[in-house]
Each structure stands twice: as C-alpha cells, then as structure tokens.
Symmetry: C2
Subunit: 211 residues, 2 copies
C-alpha cells in the first residue's frame, strides 16, 4: 500500500473493503493487514469499527452536499441548475465509487445511531432540493413532489450505474459497450428534464457545461 499516513491507509482500505464485502462482512484483521497497520491502530484512531464507518459516511455526505449546494443555489434556471448538479454528482460518484457504494448499500440497515447520523445529512440535502427544485417545479408545472421523494429518486438514478456495475459487467460479457460517463450523464439529464422519449441532439454540449 501507499506511503500515506497510517490513519489514511486505514480509511482507504476500509472504503475498498466495506464496498466489496459490506461493513459487517469486513474483518478488522483483514483490514489492518491490507492497510499495513497493526490491528489495534484501528481502534486507536477511530475508537471503534462503527466510528470508522461514520467517518467514511461523513466524508461522502459532506462532499455530496457541497456539490448540491454549489450547483443548485443561485439564480440560473431550474433545468440549468439540475443538469449541472447531475453532471457534478455523477462525476463525483465515478471518482469515488467505493465510498458511494458504502453510503448507498449500508443505507437501509437499521442501526439507529447510523440512521440518525445519515438523517442529519439527508435533512440538509432535502431542504436544499425543496427550495431549489421542488418549489420552482410546483410553480412551473403544478406538480408538488416533496424533497423526500425526489432526493432518493435523483440519488438512486445517478448511482444506478455504480450500484449494479459488478453484475452488469458480467452481463455485458463479450459484446462490450459500457456507455461512457459523458453519455451516462447526458441520458440521466435528458431523462429528468424531458423524459425517455426526448429526441437525440447530436453533438450536444448544451447540457454539460458547468462554470
């Protein structure tokens, strides 16, 4: 493993292993060995296995919320802001797939402490979506969709490629063509703004130009 500080090596190894085997499926001894540290260092730095998970989750949600705030706040049109958000978020997901998997797949498991932890982040994101997406949407179209519904939809949709990737990789097999990220962003954006039936726009850069 790299020549990072031990604390960072533990964090990196944990992200990879939690994504591969799940949180409960990962043993601290395997983790310590891959991180190249002594077993006891994990509890020394993070207090407990759960503390380690919390730090990973916080890292994800903090960045995700920052992206949402940056792209959704402001005076641009709702569709512009939404397409910018989708672009930035998917790129972030792509760059940190393992963190995303940990955050998403550990979602429904019912440790009350973890649920409340995540709810605190989710509350902020939902509030932002309510203001910047749901409210203008209701004014424009008459549809009143709450943020607690649109939030999960947006996040799930953007994460779908990564959530299913191990299986879909196996499904694609030989006749390749895994849809590059740019196209994926374009598909999701078009889906959200115009629906599946949207006509193709050749050479369109109109969607994906963040400032």
């Amino acid at each position: 493993m790299e020549d990072l500080a031990p604390r960072e090596r533990i964090l990196h190894a944990a992200i990879v292993l939690f994504a591969r085997h799940g949180f409960t499926g990962t043993g601290l001894r395997e983790l310590a060995s891959i991180a190249g540290v002594n077993l006891a260092m994990i509890n020394y730095f993070f207090g407990s296995k759960m503390g380690l998970l919390k730090e990973i989750l916080d890292g994800f949600f903090e960045k995700y919320l920052a992206i949402a705030t940056r792209e959704l706040r402001g005076s641009a049109s709702m569709s512009t802001k939404l397409s910018r958000f989708i672009y930035s978020a998917v790129c972030y997901f792509e760059s940190e797939q393992d963190v995303l998997l940990v955050a998403i797949t550990e979602l429904p498991h019912d440790d009350p402490e973890i649920i409340e932890h995540k709810a605190n982040w989710a509350r902020q994101l939902v509030k932002l979506l309510e203001q910047e997406i749901c409210k203008p949407l209701a004014e424009e179209t008459g549809r009143n969709i709450p943020g607690t519904c649109i939030g999960p939809m947006l996040t799930s949709l953007m994460a779908s490629r990564f959530l299913f990737s191990p299986v879909m990789q196996q499904v694609r097999k030989s006749d390749e063509d895994p849809v590059d990220i740019a196209s994926y962003v374009e598909i999701i954006t078009a889906l959200f703004l115009q629906g599946l039936a949207a006509q193709e726009e050749k050479n369109c850069k109109s969607i994906s130009t963040p400032t």
Copy 2:
C-alpha cells in the same frame, strides 16, 4: 411466529433479518430463534447460509422477471407497456420490501458465486428490455441506450423509495406526507415518459393510453 412450516418460517425470518442487518450481519442463531426452529434446521433445509440467500434472491428475481415479461411483451405501445410495468413492479416492491432490500443492497458485494447467480437473472431481464424498450426507443428517437444501462436505471428509480425509506422516515419527522404509492407510481412513470417538467394532469389516466 406464524404456524407455517418450519422451512417457510426460516425463509421469512431470513428475509426480515437480512433486510435489517444485512446478510453478513445476521447470525444464524438469532435467525433460528426468531424463526422458532433449531439452529441445525437451517443447514438441513438450505445446505448453508449462502444457499438460503440464493433462494431468497431467486424468489425475487423470478417474480420480477415474470412481471417484466407479462407487462412488456406484446403489441401495445412502448409507453403503455412501460407504464404498466412500472405500476406492477412498484406494487410488487411495495408488497415485498424486505426481499427487495436484500436483492438490491446485497448487489455489489463481491462473492463471485452470487454475482454470477444474479447475472443469470439480469441477462434475461436485460434481453427483454433491449427488445421491448431500447429497440423501439432507438427507432422512435434515435437514442440508442443499451439495456445494461436502462435496466439499472429503471430498477434503481423504482426502488429508491424503499431503499431510502428508513432514513427518509426520520427526515420527514413530524410534518408528514409520505407520498402514497399511487402518486409515487405516477411520478416515476411521468418522469420516464415526459421528464420532470411534465405538466400535471388532473385525474390523469392519460399516461397509459396507447396510441
């Protein structure tokens, strides 16, 4: 627990516990105790813990594929078939939330045996989507989106409500309004067919009218 046959009681208890604590997070002793059977009966009926998981997954994918086949095959318009599929699938998800959670959240974990198992089901679903959705879509709009991309997107989107429900329940807190299932189906269908910006149609049955 109910007065079902012991084999069924194990299956039911496993679905609930795997959904709550994850596969690796569930101990067979707790499972046996909740199912009201002796510990050894689990291995007696299912061979191993993994065999138990496989049976749960098979149950889910078999029904999911059956719904997709029933709703997507035939001569109706693509949008009609799609909206029927979304309706049936979401209702099925709702009726068996725990099974859905097990199937979805255990997705990325990397036991090769399980991945190949799921890939076999996914292959059939993707093939169906290619024929009934992707092909007509390409003809109508010029957009060529592979089934391995649309499959995950569709499933993720429909599952989003259930995947995030423990957290969102906490987020909603006091000022209620959890979007009933009928509205949820309508939102997703409209999103897929016309995009978010679709105008509201009061008392709309217009979504599912074939041309």
